[in-house]
């Protein structure tokens, strides 16, 4: 039972170009990419998007292993999407398996769906792998700030996110410890049917919730003790500053979006 298998929200320390970019640039980058990934209509467009993502992965200097680990949770979803697309798309039949038929169109759709899903997860993972949670929420707070006159509680949202992210590893560790303590009393989390396994989690969930509430309580007290009273008038120790690097990165992103859009409009890619 190892909870550290969850890559999302796990920062991979480093000093690559991607690590040094301003978190706002990277957040905007992920937003750009999640649009760009869905733009291409034919292979030249996809080739560009895939190559660009590959370049980003290489620039991040994060071992491929860690990036692939982030794909593990969506593997089943990915498999279902691929299989359904391959079998259920009408068109030119290639193979027959029993009553089912795989079509050429189905394979193309499967490939497109797979590429889109994988790229989405990879770009999102790249953001969290190269940006420490503190920087990430800092960036989000700054990006949301223009919306605060509209009643968007930018600071509070950022704070909640920081705390949530901060406590993911803590709670994972706690869960791990509780599971081991119950295993020492003969608990079994691996065998039995689904119902039994779900019931087997009660001895883990109850103490975990109790611990989470206790931590929340202690954290609130500690924050009050240090005079925390929300975002008003609060200054930053580290100011976020856009550098030439960030402008360059954003320019590249805009260029990429423009190219892919152009290809799509011209029915080239």
């Amino acid at each position: 039972m190892n909870m550290s298998a969850v890559t999302i929200g796990q920062y991979f320390p480093g000093d690559s170009l991607l690590h040094r970019l301003d978190p706002r640039t990277k957040i905007l980058g992920v937003i750009f990419m999640s649009v760009v990934i869905f733009l291409p209509k034919a292979w030249p467009g996809y080739l560009i998007v895939v190559l660009f993502s590959l370049m980003a992965v290489l620039l991040s200097q994060v071992p491929i292993k860690f990036i692939l680990r982030g794909l593990r949770p969506i593997l089943i979803f990915l498999a279902i999407t691929v299989v359904f697309n391959a079998f259920l798309t009408p068109g030119e039949a290639l193979w027959h398996i029993g009553r089912f038929t795989i079509t050429r169109e189905g394979i193309v759709l499967s490939a497109i769906a797979a590429i889109r899903l994988v790229l989405l997860v990879v770009t999102a993972s790249l953001l969290t792998l190269t940006t420490s949670p503190i920087h990430l929420t800092d960036g989000m707070e700054r990006l949301l700030r223009p919306l605060s006159p509209l009643g968007v509680p930018a600071h509070e949202l950022a704070l909640m996110m920081t705390i949530a992210l901060r406590f993911i590893p803590t709670l994972a560790e706690e869960a791990d410890r509780i599971m081991r303590a119950q295993a020492a009393r003969g608990a079994d989390f691996q065998s039995g049917n689904l119902m039994n396994r779900a019931r087997g989690l009660i001895p883990v969930m109850v103490p975990l919730f109790v611990a989470a509430f206790r931590r929340a309580d202690e954290l609130a007290t500690a924050m009050e003790a240090r005079g925390y009273r929300g975002g008003q008038g609060r200054t930053k120790m580290k100011q976020l500053v856009f550098t030439a690097r960030d402008f360059a990165a954003l320019t590249v992103l805009v260029a990429l979006t423009a190219t892919v859009t152009y290809l799509r409009v011209r029915h080239l890619g």
Partner: protein
């Protein structure tokens, strides 16, 4: 039921930037019926070590044998091993989950697939052993005081009637009274025929109760010996951030003052006896 570790090494998260070698080539044997104290600075590998003794962790290298059975062999009944080698984690009351004290203590025996009568009998015996009377049976474990909750957690492990009991700092965070309650309970375990491993930061407790003391430092066995052998090496222990029992410090200071005191006293009683003897000999008694 001796526990044997041979060249055991353990690395957390190998192959990542967070890689951390917690144990480095540990070889030791804990014979039947002995009371071992395990001491060492924070991060020295004590907690990792004890989790190898009931198969919760598998060594990255090396071998762990309980009662002659290699725990890494496929098909070994780890549940049975964990029943025989009881492990009480730090702050065990944080793992309570039952609706009632009874339900919580019965968790272990029920996992052993014992009959209802036997579960009932064991829970009753465990509660009696830790000094919880019948009135606690139907109470919620979340309504108890710190010391009471910890005794419930201990009872949960004792109810499995293990032959070896490993305790990770069982008195951490308790008030003096709660501490004394737990310690007097721990003192009874050897007479019940149990092998005991007590992980502790309290040199006084270890000196008083342990037959053998294991000192861990940076994932390695730093020293193993009887309390009197060990605590005579004060400078060595202090160099790795540990201390010696207050009684040993007192005797050292008296020696510096020119008192002629024998070596080897580590507990309060031994120290008192040594000082009284010295007073008698020196004719300083009024």
């Amino acid at each position: 039921m001796p526990i044997t570790l041979e060249h055991v090494s353990y690395t957390y998260q190998p192959g990542t930037p967070f890689q951390w070698q917690a144990l480095d080539d540990i070889t030791l044997t804990i014979p039947d019926g002995e009371f071992w104290g395990i001491i060492g600075p924070t991060g020295s590998g004590k907690s990792t070590l004890i989790q190898h003794m009931n198969g919760l962790l598998k060594p990255t290298q090396g071998q762990v044998q309980v009662d002659g059975v290699d725990l890494a062999v496929r098909g070994v009944d780890l549940k049975a091993v964990r029943q025989k080698v009881g492990l009480v984690f730090q702050y065990p009351e944080h793992q309570l989950f039952g609706e009632t004290v009874y339900e919580d203590i019965a968790f272990g025996p029920r996992n052993m697939k014992l009959l209802t009568d036997e579960v009932e009998r064991r829970v009753a015996r465990a509660m009696q052993r830790v000094g919880l009377d019948e009135s606690f049976r139907s109470r919620s474990p979340f309504s108890l005081s710190g010391g009471q909750a910890r005794r419930v957690a201990l009872a949960g492990v004792l109810a499995m009637e293990p032959r070896v009991l490993i305790l990770d700092e069982p008195t951490a965070g308790l008030d003096p009274r709660g501490r004394e309650e737990i310690l007097s309970l721990v003192r009874t375990f050897p007479s019940l025929g149990m092998t005991v491993c007590l992980v502790s930061h309290s040199m006084d407790d270890v000196a008083e109760m342990a037959d053998k003391v294991l000192v861990m430092h940076r994932g390695r066995v730093h020293l193993v010996g009887s309390p009197s052998e060990l605590f005579s090496r004060r400078a060595d222990l202090e160099s790795i951030g540990l201390g010696v029992p207050a009684a040993v410090v007192l005797l050292d200071q008296l020696r510096d003052q020119g008192w002629n005191l024998p070596a080897g006293a580590v507990t309060l009683e031994q120290t008192t006896a040594a000082i009284l003897a010295a007073l008698g000999k020196g004719g300083k008694r009024r």
